[in-house]
Assembly symmetry: C2
Homo-oligomer: 108 residues x 2
Amino acid sequence: MNESSSAPKPPYYAVIFTSKRTDGDNGYGQMAAKMDELAAGQQGFLGIESARVTGLGITVSYWESLEAIQQWKENSAHQAAQAKGKTDWYQSYTVRICKVERDYGFER
Amino acid sequence: MNESSSAPKPPYYAVIFTSKRTDGDNGYGQMAAKMDELAAGQQGFLGIESARVTGLGITVSYWESLEAIQQWKENSAHQAAQAKGKTDWYQSYTVRICKVERDYGFER
């Protein structure tokens, strides 16, 4: 889901996941890569973008529908990762489920 | 707009701004700090979060209404910054205007 991808026309959906990590990796990097790969195979998945600065991570994933988001939330491997997130990886996080109503861009 | 802030209940609005920068700073850092400060003084502003990795920046700003987003877009100093964004700072960018329909979080 970047400027060069064939993104759908709105409306579609975005999940904004902002997080503060605990100290150390604790297996996070490996699991995050695995979850990105697994998400990409889900029905209705459109794309994912992540960035991090000290103290804050932002991951935005894009989906065709609320149903696709719900199915990914309930995926059993993802559920196991969510549990590890609470016990090991995150100090705190916020999940925001959004309807993308309009988009536009610029390319040099 | 972080986990400890007194965020409003949904619905509220988010602007997801993803970008690829040109090489060099070219005055970007100073202007970005100025724009963050100016945005924070706008009516309806709720918060802003930014992170960056090589090749990708994600900034999410949060607003009470679509009208507040439109007013910020039309702010004259912001308009000047937007023009500089196209001539100097960005290789490409995408703006997504979103309605936050639901949110939840976790705090250790």
